[in-house]
């Protein structure tokens, strides 16, 4: 059975300040949603609210019809995984230890992971094709590898949905594509629902089944990539002129968006 994550007329922000409001969207397992929007528009704030770090100011966030803001951390973590932007912890953990931490939501408060949890963590590494990193030190591997390890950690959590905060930020071109391919694989093969933010409309074309765009003045649109990402809409949101073109063969074509140099100001 497919689960459904739903935001209904959500407003969120910090204490007295509302950052974004009137957000409604829904996502099933096996779908991906890309959130686009300029810097500082509230994408991260929205994520923090879904994950329960920030209290909802109004509206509801439902998972299979249940209000998740009443759930315990453990219950929520068993359904919704979070892939933050990679940063360095203060201690040089081994990669396998980091991935095993994904099992925390399935452990009781007073217990440590068992051999079974270690195996699930190794499986997650295998799914992402990074088993060779198992015994490396997390703080000493590259940014792209670290991002994949954090995705593996979220997989070891065995959630239904993944929330990914700019999974391609700070990665080189090859690693960006590799991470996006992995995300596509997780959505199509592992039946995960993925919500991610990105600064690249091309990434949305490449891997999103749905796109949501947040803009200034409460501008908010959600739909398929083809519907939402248009030349005029990108102009309105980002204030730059772009052209959207089809590339590749007819039956396997991909849209890409390229800047129009003359009008870039």
């Amino acid at each position: 059975m497919k689960m459904r994550l739903e935001a209904k007329n959500v407003s969120c922000g910090y204490a007295a300040k509302t950052v974004i409001s009137g957000i409604s969207l829904a996502l099933n397992q096996g779908e991906s949603l890309c959130i686009l929007g300029p810097n500082g528009i509230g994408k991260t704030t929205f994520f923090k609210t879904i994950l329960g770090f920030l209290a909802l100011q109004s509206g509801q966030i439902l998972l299979d019809g249940e209000d998740i803001h009443r759930w315990s951390r453990r219950k929520l973590a068993a359904k919704v995984g979070y892939v933050p932007q990679a940063h360095n912890p203060p201690f040089p953990f081994k990669v396998l230890d980091v991935v095993t931490m994904g099992r925390t939501a399935h452990l009781s408060f007073f217990s440590s992971p068992s051999q079974k949890d270690k195996e699930i963590a190794e499986e997650a590494l295998c799914t992402l094709g990074i088993t060779h990193l198992k015994d490396r030190i997390y703080t000493q591997i590259s940014g792209g590898e670290r991002q994949l390890v954090l995705i593996a950690r979220a997989l070891a959590q065995q959630p239904a949905f993944l929330i990914m905060d700019e999974p391609t930020a700070n990665l080189d071109f090859g690693n960006q594509i590799r991470v996006l391919n992995q995300i596509n694989k997780l959505v199509q093969q592992a039946n995960l629902g993925v919500i991610m933010t990105t600064h690249f409309p091309n990434h949305a074309f490449y891997c999103a089944s749905k796109v949501a765009v947040l803009g200034r003045d409460k501008m908010f649109t959600v739909g398929t990539a083809d519907e939402v990402i248009t030349e005029s809409y990108l102009k309105a949101v980002y204030g730059v002129d772009v052209q959207i073109v089809d590339v590749g063969k007819r039956d396997n074509s991909l849209k890409v968006c390229v800047p129009v140099a003359a009008n870039c100001g």
Partner: protein, 345 residues
């Protein structure tokens, strides 16, 4: 047919070695001291307590072993284990390898409480209770003020800064007490006790302090996995399913309880809670699943070793706190220099 048994990895093996070393250290320490007793006699006296043995030792020997050396050795292990385990716990919880039990003002608070008890001529139980109340008071103030100040921002940094301020405040009250204390009777007692020493412990002190220390150690051992996750930061820990508020409260309460109880029997013993967790991390790695028991046993071993030095190096005993600081300070500098090169290990 033999079933294949999965071998513990390298850090697991090292962890198995530590209890053996600790046991060896425990027995060898009985032999050390100005009154010469052979290891056979020590073993015979200890075994003789449990079962009937023909008495081959003098009454004096039994007193030295059971009444003087046993409490002192046990106290050194308990205090060392307490300080380094709480140091390791604080370091994980505050994502900060530079943190120690002194951080939250616990040591200063406990010292103030104990000094007040000495000033009012309470007995050893009174001093222990005073240290405990002082430590708890300091950490409660630190916790409440930092939660209030940090409600919209970085709780962690605010908490560390608040801890430093609270520690300073308690230390100045402590100076005030020393200033007011009778310079012929009370002041030397307080001053000597503050330097940190196990010279005057007796079995009763150790027994009373061991109850909260053991309870606290068990609690920290039980929640140690959560500290791994907490070291990635509050939000990631929450997203991984940790109730961070509950873990923090439990860890602070347990670590404070064992620190205050240790301070009550030993006085201020600096830097153990900072350097031993680092040594443990060098030996078994940063995973709290093995780090916590390693830090606990290495802390016991370390303080036992230093206390043996303290009571044998010179004819006059050197206060333990001075020795740990003499050893600890250069090590701390070494850590600072090393960190710049390759990060925390």
């Amino acid at each position: 047919m033999l079933k294949a048994v999965s071998l513990p990895d390298a850090s697991g093996l090292k962890l198995l070695l530590l209890p053996l070393l600790l046991a060896a250290g425990f027995f060898v320490s009985f032999v050390i001291g100005s009154y010469p007793i052979s290891i056979e006699t020590v073993l015979a006296i200890i075994v003789g307590k449990i079962m009937n043995l023909p008495q081959s030792w003098t009454k004096d020997m039994e007193i030295v072993v059971m009444k003087i050396r046993l409490p002192r050795i046990t106290a050194a292990i308990l205090v060392g284990a307490a300080l380094s385990t709480s140091g390791a716990a604080y370091q994980g919880m505050f994502k900060n390898p530079m943190v120690s039990p002194g951080l939250l003002g616990v040591s200063a608070g406990a010292s103030l409480g104990a000094a007040l008890a000495i000033l009012f001529s309470y007995n050893i139980v009174g001093i222990q209770i005073g240290a405990f109340i002082g430590g708890m008071l300091a950490v409660t103030i630190t916790y409440l003020v930092s939660v209030w100040l940090g409600r919209n921002g970085d709780t962690m940094l605010v908490m560390i800064l608040t801890g430093i301020i609270v520690g300073m405040l308690f230390s100045s009250f402590l100076s005030l007490i020393k200033y007011a204390a009778d310079p012929y009777t009370k002041l030397p007692t307080i001053t000597y006790w503050l330097m940190g020493s196990l010279a005057s412990v007796n079995s009763n002190d150790v027994l009373i302090a061991s109850i909260p220390i053991v309870i606290g150690l068990v609690l920290l051992m039980l929640v140690r996995w959560n500290l791994n996750v907490m070291s990635f930061g509050d939000e990631e820990a929450k997203a991984l399913g940790v109730n961070t508020g509950r873990v923090r409260l439990l860890v602070i309460a347990a670590a404070t309880m064992i620190t205050a109880s240790a301070v009550a029997i030993s006085g201020m013993i600096g830097l153990v809670g900072l350097i031993v967790p680092h040594l443990a991390r060098l030996l078994v790695g940063p995973d709290y699943k093995v780090l916590m028991p390693a830090a606990m046993m290495m802390g016991g071993l370390f303080l036992l070793f230093v206390d043996n030095l303290a009571r044998t190096l010179y004819a006059v005993e050197i206060p333990l706190g001075i020795l740990t600081s003499l050893i600890g300070a250069p090590f701390f500098l070494y850590l600072l220099v090393n960190t710049k090169k390759k990060g925390w290990a």
